[in-house]
Subunit: 324 residues, 6 copies
């Protein structure tokens, strides 16, 4: 029985539990006697927990436990000034196959394989041979494809799940299809290609070992640049790819955050770029609101706390639902 941290907080003092956790912080402390003990903060996807290894075995090498390690713990609940602070009986590193990563990071609510098949089907509908070739070069590249289907859409704000990037990409494509159908002046193939590729750079922006983290590359360069650069490189492998088409496609990627203050080095200057920007905003904001509601209210109703990025509290009295 692999206990969730959310549940441990509800246990009475004295109750025993066990499970797999990630070490978020670890310090070796000393008792007055000089004997060492461990003070840890551990986490799973439901929260974080302070916990003490008060009496480790005399001969234990406590220095082997590092931030980021997954450990197996047996412990019992203690209340310290009315707060939960369990004490460990036994702790060891976990084996790779003992636990499920889902304990630490949520997955997209959609089936990833079905979603990816849907993406490939959309690629089939592209008429422009250069754009189609480009998409095939990218998504039939196993390395890129396998990274793409796992990458989250973000760390906190929206689509912060395994597969979140794929889910978000399809959401944006759906909206762009409606717009391209209504506005015939739009180059539909260009818009859909841009929608599919707009966040491609995120495959280098996030690492998802046990938790979603931003890579140094992500923080220092950003997905707008790394995505544009990757697309540019792939285009250069396609003979005869029209230069103007390349510029128009890259412009969509470079401007899709819409405003400079969101890290867009360019503002949208074509019909396709402006459509992509607002379609992206629409899908990500709605999802961001929904994830905040889920995180804050669970299955309850009423007001959330102020959203740290959108700067409003959110009111919800419906049902969170993913049923088709």
């Amino acid at each position: 029985m692999d206990a969730l941290i959310r549940d441990i907080y509800k246990m009475p003092a004295g109750q025993e539990f066990e499970g797999f956790f990630i070490i978020e912080n670890v310090e070796i402390k000393k008792h007055r006697t000089g004997e060492p003990y461990l003070r840890l903060i551990v986490s799973d996807r439901t929260g974080t927990l302070p916990i003490l290894w008060w009496k480790p075995p005399k001969d234990a090498d406590l220095t082997i436990f590092k931030k980021g390690d997954v450990v197996f713990i047996k412990a019992y609940v203690e209340l310290f000034q009315g707060n939960v602070q369990p004490k460990i009986r036994l702790m060891r590193h976990a084996e790779k196959n003992e636990f499920k990563r889902e304990k630490f990071i949520r997955s997209s609510r959609f089936n990833i394989d079905e979603q990816f098949t849907k993406l490939l089907e959309i690629i089939e509908t592209i008429q422009n041979p250069y754009l189609k070739k480009l998409l095939e070069l990218i998504f039939y590249d196993d390395e890129i494809a396998s990274a793409f289907i796992k990458t989250p859409g973000g760390k906190f704000i929206h689509h912060a799940t395994i597969g979140g990037l794929l889910e978000h990409t399809l959401g944006v494509v759906e909206i762009c299809e409606v717009v391209a159908k209504r506005y015939k002046s739009i180059d539909r193939d260009l818009l859909i290609t841009a929608a599919i590729l707009h966040d491609l750079g995120k495959i280098d922006e996030y690492s998802i070992d046990m938790a979603i983290d931003r890579t140094d590359e992500g923080i220092l360069l950003g997905h707008i640049f790394t995505g544009s650069e990757l697309i540019s490189k792939k285009i250069d492998e396609i003979e005869g790819f029209p230069k103007k088409l390349k510029i128009k496609l890259l412009h969509c990627i470079l401007s899709h955050h819409g405003e400079y203050e969101y890290g867009s080095p360019k503002k949208p200057k074509t019909l396709e770029a402006v459509a992509l920007h607002y379609a992206d905003a629409l899908d990500s904001k709605v999802k961001g609101y929904e994830e905040h509601i889920e995180r804050e209210l669970g299955e309850g109703k009423g007001w959330t706390k102020r959203h740290f990025a959108y700067e409003v509290p959110i009111f919800f009295d419906g049902e969170i639902s993913y049923e088709e």
Copy 2:
């Protein structure tokens, strides 16, 4: 033959023409001899033209010509310092039925009756009896309906045509349907109702006699307030309309500009409100870009001048097309 101003500019000196025009400005001037003459600026939907009535009949009452009047003019082109400045041979007020208002103001590219029928069909799909009742109260009210189908979406920035409000409303509804289908947590009936009603207040914001103009009410109160107030009044006529539903609907209207700096007294604080805001932004920005391209490039390609509101020049090398 009712000449368009756009064409008069291309005529050689001496060419005769005639047609209907709106007086934008008129001054009675005097020749050195003391004889009066008229200096006018006239317009139609293709532009404005300076023109002189150099030798009006001795007994003519020149004071009867006022700003805003529609007049019939016969004249010939003169070049003054290489600039076109025609001289009038004859000028009189136009009769109501002599000319078509389309000469002065463009209409939506869509068929207004078909569009309105489509709107009524969408109302039929609303399941929530209170919201459906509300929409019926509004759109089966002949006065409101006949204003609604003529009102423009704006004066300059987007959907600046007769019927533009109806066209924009359906554009926003289309996008909202996709979003509501993807995000099941959204109350679809509430979102679609809000989308239909979001710009209702514009029926009081614009006057469209011969040109689109903002009313005093529009400038001093604004469509966000007048629309919300009208909806609130109509809701109060419906027995048993749930108070919370009223508040949630009005919140969508009051917050649909999204940010305070765009005159929204509230920022979106529900799923439906945030979806409406970005769907509105998406439809209006794409249309605004398209109208700017048409206005600036006609059937040409390349770069427009900087858009006065979006603050970028726009690049376009496709075809403006409204074909289904």
Copy 3:
């Protein structure tokens, strides 16, 4: 003797006290033995206090104590790690008439009845019959009047007291009188009417049961809209009320926050509107500074902490005084 929380913090360990408090937070916890105990945070207008009911009677139904309840408590002080954390001997719900609401929420420093009389006298000075009629319709409506005299001016920033709205309204009126006297181009009756009504919508924005709270309506719609709507409704009951006057009055209400970023859907576009906006700013900022000084320094002198809304610390070395 009804102890104030501010004083409990100064008591030595072991001292007994009793009094009425509001429950801000309550959790049922379990001792290691499985026996339940209560962990509460309670408040009065002088602060908040953590407190434990360590050993409630065996047969007590602990689930009856809810957030927001007013309770009578007998307890004694304990120091836990040098911090005050009293233990409860006895706790029960309070009867309606046992306690004074003033323990929980402060009242305006002015006498409410005198202030309201003053307001009615000002209404008498209005010459314009339509505006006078409007004010009478509103302030001789018992329901509105009795709400108006109790409503606070705000939750935190300024006039956060019972009767604060009335106090602030008179402050703004006083300033407007000086301005109207100096600037003869101003329509004095319009300005004074707008000043009296500018925050009327706050009667729906705040609930003041035991503490000042914002209603759902307040957060989702806001007092600018609800006030304007109420005034509009009342105007429509008055025969012959000039439409232009209605628009000018509502414009004052809609624009009185002055800038979009403060939730004004309109910026001031008339002399009266601009005068009202700055008179409102003047009275509320001075009061906001004063309340911050009182809250932070008590009767002391020197620097306050940074004001959370005005973003500066405030320096004060005078005497807070309300003497006439």
Copy 4:
């Protein structure tokens, strides 16, 4: 008869006129024959006028006419392409006493001597001996006083008249008196002193020879600094002036623009400073709106053009009036 430019524009071709004007721009041009002629733009307080000296006397030294000179002109109206462009018959420099400066710059609507007397009376009411002494040192200094009563409140935005600074100062003092009376925690003497001195630095910021202009000192240093420095210097002449009082007074001056973006090096951090800032804003904004209405609408009604600084058009349908 000294013609106003506003009236010359309404004259028929051929009409003779004469009057005094300031040269705004002057160019010596050559006819094809090589003969020189002058092309000028001249102004008075009602507008600007292009005018030609087509045939100056053969032996005239045309280089003596410079920008900023006041000249006497005799001329007759010519219409050039329907535009007014008079031709000069005779032009010479004006003598100092031939013309009135009021032709070129408007004066405050209030009587300057009465206003200054009122200011001195207010100074009498100050109880604090140091502040009173300071005000006396400043306003009984003839050089400062005679500059103070002439200086405008600004070049364009508000109180742009001779005596405008004095008028504005009294307006701010009046408002501050109301506030100090209502809020007893305010140090009334400090507030009134700060109100009297808040724009003192403007005596160095503007030059008013024939028109209001900003000095180099005004543009490079600004009245906030020069005023504060002058006050500081005067304080240092007063024995025993308390240092804390000096700092509090200078803080009011340094922060009276309220926000950094208006060139305030400090934000208000005392009750007196915040009251002064908003009282200043109130008086100057109302006056700025009123002056814009006068300039734009004259005695008419309706909408002005967008105000260049306040960024809104203004609606006015009352009467501009200065009657007591």
Copy 5:
């Protein structure tokens, strides 16, 4: 004798002149007789000039003259309403070698060859073998080098001359050397390399045929992206180039505009990036001020007009000097 437009404006009516000019605008107009004539606007680096070809030869093909062509013109000055508007006697296309491009676009005040030699010497001082290799790959590539030495630093704001990029690059390097010497924690080789490469992308951003223009690529993608991409490509040609070094270098390029609002997709997050940003700002702002002074005041002194980007007028009473 190749006349400068600046001088033509000072010629008397009737004077003959000849020279080479770029066509900025051209329209074929018709006389009342139906005969065609040309209306042109032509330019050189000193300004623009309206000019007419009133009587072209009967058999001339007027359609061969296009915007952007360089033409040879013989003409004489005519004054039209006191304005200069010459008439052409003869016009033909210029041969490539007949004229000097310096007539149309200014060059850097520094000797380009000497400057480039200096740059190569600086490259010699780089100790880090990877960075040195990278710089050699780029600057010993003839195509890049020959573009680099001609490219301007900008179109309007600063270093808007042939060779301006090279001049600005050295200016930034000089400042960075001082900073790297003072702050030993800085990686000097990395900073100098980043300084040398920071605006490399401008070689694709501007076209300088006869005038400086921004390319479509420049407007749609921008030099920050194209430069970073080119550097990244060159790095990938160097075996063993450390990945972290690549990321740190690219981060400097991507963040060198410092703030999002200036199109930086990243804000500086390393010592080298922050140093580069402010060194770039320092060199470009000083140069931008200086160029504005030269353009506005020529050899005069006093105040310039408000700078369109820096939003201030500039005061200068020194001597513009480039002497060593």
Copy 6:
């Protein structure tokens, strides 16, 4: 042995230590028995520490220990809930000469005497006799000079050390020398004088008794004003100092923060002012980044926490070094 707080945190429970500390906060508490004890927070330059005097001598006057006092303490470590909270055995006030101020506040990494000598040498290079005289008046004034060499550059953001102002001043001068050498249009003497004096006002802005603190004068008036005023006063002591030079110098001081939002009452409007602003920004930002790295990473590498003012985390993998 004078223990550093940084080291006390690493001691095991029970270890004895002694040393000098500043009292940051002190409260007299009571045991249940009614006996008093002290709860303190003490600090040195390496951090802050909670500490208890659990059993002070019966007859001790505990009220003599005040915030800001330097005390000598003997104590031993106790762990309270795993946290360090030592208990005092003995505490008394420190004598002036017992401890070194360096324990509480860091000094500039440069030798202050050498730096000041360097400053005097730079003053020698000024050719303009008025500017040289001004600098001599200021820096040969012992009171100013001795304040100047001790004053920090800031409280937190950059150069927060004794002597930091001197260090920063020289850094800015160095950069300005490079710029003045490159841009000959700059008045080098004016720029260097402005650079030397730009932060002079900080001698009144900070108090550095045992820690750096801002004075009331600093918070209410600011160094931009007090510095400008002091310079202005000194200039007035120099006979014949040109007025225009005074204005240009003061303009540099008043505008050196560059933008209104950083408290600059003026934006730079001369070449010297714009150069000074960016040189100041460059030196202070690089130093600010470096100090943040040191504070956060010590001798480690990687990412710091987000900088509270620059709003980014900083990446560093080099070596902090001050070696020449």
